[in-house]
């Protein structure tokens, strides 16, 4: 069952130099119980896409979309009050830096129960029990005594587990995790990711995981969307994206990764990301693409293959080039 379907999401930001089109017509679907990875480099619009769907954008940003269907509702038509009833309730959020995601002047217990009390209108005792259950579930020992502690008394890994517990308080249908492990050490990262994956499977929740780390998507996601300069340039099942990438940007990105099996020089993507200000015609990647030709300046067709693998490129099959690089 498709729980989330975003169609043609656009986010424009007014700047002094003109309108910056940060997200340019993104389509994204999440099935129930599925982990979807959005991967891309800084400024590609991956975090804004998630924030845009939640309606959490800075004032200077303007969102438009044909439709954002979440469960049975269209979020583009939802009122502010309806959105508040969904955020933190039906959609849980896990942010990158647990130090800024937690309020330093409230106890862990207050922060964990706040959303639950607001959305469920239950007795405090019930909320506390739910918080303790989730702290235990996330592997935190002495859960009850943690409730009276403040964020600064806990390590980074502990804080991130609390942020995860907080996102799960109201049993959300969808969890959005924006770089959930980027600020953490590697051993803790693996443990946090496993925790998210286990809980997701248990609750059959949908997950959108946003990351720049190809290792994280490879191991976490069922499907991947690769974003470049505000567009999804390639999307599909994780296996086919990594085994047979079709878009030259995806191919380039994978070749940049240090790999034990392939010593020597790393792949490089020459040039820089184009400016996002103003309208664009043709392929966003053509200024850096090794295969760019004249047709790349015109509108780019989306190729689709069985199994849901799709990409935006003038070249219908890159498999030969993949093997070369």
């Amino acid at each position: 069952m498709t729980m989330l379907k975003i169609e043609n999401l656009r986010i424009d930001i007014a700047t002094q130099n003109g309108t910056l089109h940060a997200v340019r017509g993104v389509d994204l679907e999440v099935e129930k119980g599925e982990v979807v990875g959005i991967v891309g480099e800084s400024g590609c619009g991956k975090s804004l896409t998630a924030m845009g769907l939640l309606g959490l954008l800075p004032r200077s940003a303007q969102r438009s979309a044909d439709r954002i269907r979440f469960l049975e509702r269209d979020l583009t038509k939802a009122s502010v009050a309806e959105l508040r009833g969904i955020r933190g309730n039906r959609i849980g959020m896990i942010f990158q830096d647990p130090m800024t995601a937690l309020n330093p002047s409230y106890t862990i217990g207050d922060q964990l129960t706040e959303g639950y009390l607001h959305h469920r209108k239950t007795a405090r005792k019930e909320a506390v029990e739910r918080a303790i259950y989730l702290l235990n579930r996330t592997g935190i020992t002495a859960a009850r005594s943690r409730l009276s502690q403040y964020p600064h008394q806990l390590s980074g890994g502990l804080r991130q587990r609390i942020v995860i517990a907080m996102a799960l308080m109201c049993e959300p249908d969808l969890i959005i995790a924006d770089e959930p492990t980027t600020a953490l050490d590697v051993t803790v990262q693996a443990q946090i990711l496993r925790l998210i994956k286990d809980i997701q499977a248990e609750m059959a929740a949908g997950v959108i995981i946003i990351t720049h780390d190809l290792g994280v998507v490879a191991q976490m996601a069922d499907r991947v969307a690769v974003m470049y300069a505000g567009e999804v340039v390639e999307a599909g099942p994780t296996h086919s994206i990594f085994a047979a990438p079709q878009h030259p940007y995806t191919i380039g990105l994978l070749s940049c990764m240090p790999d034990a099996a392939r010593r020597g020089r790393l792949g490089q993507i020459p040039g820089v990301v184009p400016s996002l200000i103003g309208e664009r015609k043709g392929c966003a990647f053509r200024t850096r693409c090794p295969h760019a030709t004249q047709p790349c300046r015109a509108d780019i067709a989306i190729h689709r293959r069985a199994g849901g693998h799709s990409w935006r490129c003038t070249i219908p099959d890159q498999t030969a080039n993949t093997r070369k690089s």
Partner: protein, 317 residues
């Protein structure tokens, strides 16, 4: 490769005094305890460990930015403490993690890169020539000389930082997380550049990183630190193929593969990093270790040799 040690550290300690709360007294924090290692001429050594393990403190000591509390740092046969700063600058130079904060935003690139030469009293024309030359080497266009750091991308800024480090022709480059603030596609450019410069200038490198794939790609030899101590040291292939220390094994297993389906790793170590002010007795890793025995909590293992590897674990070998 020559076997002459260009830089050697022996039994270095660094103790900070940390204030405990508003009215609390001060307690010692042992950031480094008896750390010894060396970098040979032309060698690239990787230093790996998690936050708080003392790797950045060690990098600062090697740069002469911090005084060790005890122990010796020898560089090119001289005691680092006796080397004048101007001379030290020609031996060892840093490349820091964040090219956004390590460059002065109010100075143009030519000035930033040329400053070491200016301080050495070099003439303007000569400086200008050397700056242009080094910009070519690090792959920056010559017109970048007139730019301010804010006009450059992250990767270009890191190239500026590398140019500044190289202009005084040092023997050793200390790279403290040189790519962790950069995107993947930019990271690969900087790592390739460091490799090229290494052979071009016969540089020795110390690569400090928490990213094992970067270390594996760049280093000839790896030093693993945990809570201020070296727990394992080995050449790169031995370390990645047959790590001895349980902490190294945990680190290696935590590295996520980009081949889908290898699955999320099961980490054979408990979560929590110990409090460095009250470090565990015995082996510093024992509270997180899955194979620890009674002896590990009372007796601290010394670094011992196992074939070509060094490891501090009672149960190694």
């Amino acid at each position: 490769m020559k076997t002459h040690s260009l830089l050697s550290v022996s039994r270095v300690r660094k103790t900070y005094s940390v204030k405990q709360g508003l009215f609390g007294g001060r307690l010692p924090l042992h950031a480094l305890s008896d750390v010894s290692f060396h970098i040979d001429e032309g060698e690239a050594v990787g230093l790996v460990g998690e936050s708080g393990c003392g790797k950045s403190t060690l990098a600062k000591i090697l740069l002469g930015l911090l005084e060790p509390s005890a122990g010796d740092v020898m560089i090119s046969g001289q005691d680092l403490r006796r080397v004048r700063p101007s001379q030290r600058a020609r031996l060892v130079q840093p490349v820091f993690q964040d090219p956004y904060s390590s460059l002065n935003p109010r100075k143009r690139v030519a000035r930033i890169v040329g400053l070491p030469l200016e301080l050495a009293g070099m003439s303007r024309d000569e400086r200008q020539r050397r700056v242009m030359e080094i910009l070519d080497h690090v792959g920056l266009p010559r017109h970048a000389a007139n730019a301010y750091p804010s006009q450059l991308s992250g990767g270009q800024r890191q190239r500026v930082a590398i140019a500044r480090a190289l202009i005084s022709r040092p023997r050793v480059l200390i790279c403290d997380e040189p790519t962790s603030a950069l995107d993947v596609s930019v990271q690969s450019q900087i790592l390739n550049l460091l490799q090229d410069l290494r052979s071009e200038f016969n540089l020795s490198l110390l690569i400090v990183s928490h990213d094992l794939s970067v270390i594996r790609h760049m280093a000839d030899r790896v030093v693993v630190m945990y809570l201020g101590r070296v727990v394992e040291e080995a050449d790169t292939s031995s370390l990645f193929e047959s790590a001895l220390h349980p902490y190294t094994k945990a680190l290696l297993s935590a590295n996520l593969s980009t081949h889908p389906g290898s699955g999320l790793p099961m980490i054979d170590a408990k979560w929590d990093f110990p409090n460095p002010i009250a470090p565990p007795t015995g082996c510093p890793f024992h509270p997180r270790c899955s194979i620890a025995v009674q002896r590990c909590s009372t007796e601290r293992p010394d670094l011992a040799q196992y074939g070509g590897q060094h490891c501090a674990c009672h149960l190694a070998g």
